[in-house]
Amino acid sequence: MSTALTAGAAASPMRPATARRRLSRLADQVHQRALGATALLVFLAVGLIVFEVVRGSAPALGTLGWRFLIGTEWDPVADHYGALPYLFGTLVSSALAMVMAVPLGVGTAVYLAELAPPRVGAVVAFVVELLASIPSIVYGIWGLFVLAPFLRSLVEPWLIAHLGFLPLFQGFPFGIGMLNAGIVLAVMVVPTIVSLAREILLAMPGSLREAALALGATRAEGLGVLLDAARPGILGAAILALGRALGETMAVTMVIGNTNRISASLLAPGSTMASVIANEFTEATGQLYLSALTEIALVLFALTVVINALARLLVLWTTGGRRDVAGSA
């Protein structure tokens, strides 16, 4: 930051400037530094969070070591802590949400941006964005009191009867569990995907469409060209949505069933890293217990960083390093 500033100053040699010009340069510098400082604050906040979380989890890191990540037993009474079921739950519930939300979200975005009459598109987009402002506890209540009875009495018995030969759909129709959590998460992240993907598609240059049509492409083929060009941006939208799904706490806690068991079945209850923290932190006593919960936060943080890094790589890889594409957010 500061090197860029001095380099800029050195590049334009000092001229016998008028007072006014000098003042304006000073104002520029102050402006730039102030904005730089606000950007620095973000780094500072993240740095402090990492510091505090690492400090808080130090006793658990020391006592439990790697066993923490591969252990499956979480027993506060005996002070044994293994976070694997929570890691598993976070990954599976988020993956399930993405499997449902990405096709739905991208499909909606394509319709809104390309096919719907502009006025309809704007109205529907507004409604979709309204979904994003609903508090997560409301989604949780909906999942618990509306979705769960529906899943228990209709969907899950059907799945067990017809697809029960797959380990994915075996067990007891609880209504709450991994499937419910995945659906609730999908509904929660669809607005993120729709609104971002729609903006990206709208920002694609019109020449792309025209060129495709000029070459004799059908409307569907033209859409394919457009989607291909918008892919990095849409991927970015999906990653933002995934970030939300990974960290979502309240709604998931209410509908996932909260057991620390790993099960192949989507109908079985589970737990996520965020939900166990929400469940147990306030009433946790004992140093190792609190520290183990803090370490879960650390693992969640690390997981988010890893997934974001992988996503960046994916974007880079799919674009072959192109940076000229619109919306490479």
Partner: protein
């Protein structure tokens, strides 16, 4: 004019006379379960004495952390601190039980001829995952003349750490050696079976929606929401429904043990009317304080809560303490000191 002045002077004198003895404000933090009665007490106490007490109901565990850090004048916890936990604190702490609470067993079975009756063996069996259908012979033996459906049992527990879970698991540990050995008692435990709902509302919601479900919630919550509550067989062999009276009876039955150590769990208490899944909630106070004014104010408040405060308890669905336990608290108040000097002289 004169009269007003005289009144003001009089008021000033009374206030001035009241001040030097103690501090005018206290802060506390901890348990959420007793929050309604505590805020009622603090409000009433403020009106009577002018002392304002600021209480944050952030959960027992978080409250204990605040006590440990010394950021509050007192803590509150639904679970008494074990010896190991006490060792993590910088100084000695005293427990003052304030009110009692019961944990009600709620269930969802339609079309029973008579209300379901539960025994310690049934409850343990269900939560251990050993009783999986309602027409199990253990359930049938405790419910003669009741046609039990062959429906699967779904055991619901609290997913969040809670004093309710602590009382419930303390009870299971008290009635079952197997439970004590394998699972133990705590605000959160490693459940061998069943599913977890968040909060009383989460458990109640799952039980209400799922035929064949059974769960445990705070008595006040079960009463206010008119859930179907099962009587539980107590130590004396009688089936008792949870109520304020049967909870107080449980505290009464445990009075001798509480006089030795107020931290003793009162689950599975003796006495014909005692409801077995009962518990106490505590204020946590450092035995020796650095601030004599605050220590005195706090001691005065606790003495008031034992005297006048107990009359307000039942209206808010808490069980009041029997006289025997109030006497234990009053004796412990005399142990409170500030820099080595006793702070409480009253009764």
């Amino acid at each position: 004019m004169h009269r007003i002045l005289r009144f003001a002077a009089l008021a000033l004198i009374t206030v001035a006379a009241a001040i030097p003895a103690g501090a005018q404000s206290l802060t506390g933090a901890g348990a959420t379960f007793p929050y309604p009665i505590y805020s009622k007490w603090f409000d009433a106490y403020h009106k009577q004495t002018g002392v304002s007490i600021n209480y944050q109901s952030i959960g027992s565990g978080a409250g204990i952390q605040q006590v440990k850090a010394g950021t509050v004048d007192f803590g509150a916890s639904d679970a008494a601190l074990s010896n190991d936990r006490l060792k993590e604190l910088p100084r000695r702490i005293l427990h003052f039980p304030t009110v009692g609470g019961a944990v009600a067993m709620v269930y969802n079975l339609q079309g029973l001829d008579k209300p379901l009756q539960l025994t310690p063996e049934i409850i343990t069996g269900i939560y251990m995952g050993q009783i999986t259908v309602w027409n199990d012979k253990k359930v049938a033996a405790a419910n003669p003349g009741v046609t039990l459906p062959p429906a699967p049992v779904m055991a619901v527990h609290r997913s969040d750490g809670s004093g309710t879970t602590n009382i419930f698991t303390s009870y299971l540990a008290a009635v079952s050696g197997e439970w004590k050995e394998i699972i133990g008692a705590n605000t959160s435990v490693s459940w061998p079976s069943g599913i977890g709902g968040k909060g009383n509302e989460g458990v109640a919601g799952l039980v209400r929606q799922t035929p064949g479900a059974i769960g445990y919630v705070e008595l006040a919550y079960a009463k206010q929401n008119q859930l179907t509550v099962a009587p539980v067989r107590n130590q004396a062999g009688r089936f008792v429904l949870p109520s304020l009276a049967s909870t107080t009876a449980a505290v009464e039955g445990s009075a001798a043990a509480l006089a030795r150590d107020v931290r003793t769990p009162i689950v599975n208490a003796p006495g014909p009317d005692a409801y077995p899944i009962s518990g106490l909630t505590f204020l946590l106070v450092y035995r020796d304080s650095k601030d004599p004014a605050k220590a005195k104010t706090l001691a005065d408040f606790i003495a008031w809560a034992m005297r006048d405060g107990q009359a307000m308890v039942e209206a808010l669905d808490y069980a009041k303490l029997p006289d025997a336990v109030i006497k234990v608290n009053q004796a412990n108040l005399k142990l409170l000191t500030a820099s080595g000097k006793p702070v409480f002289a009253g009764r």
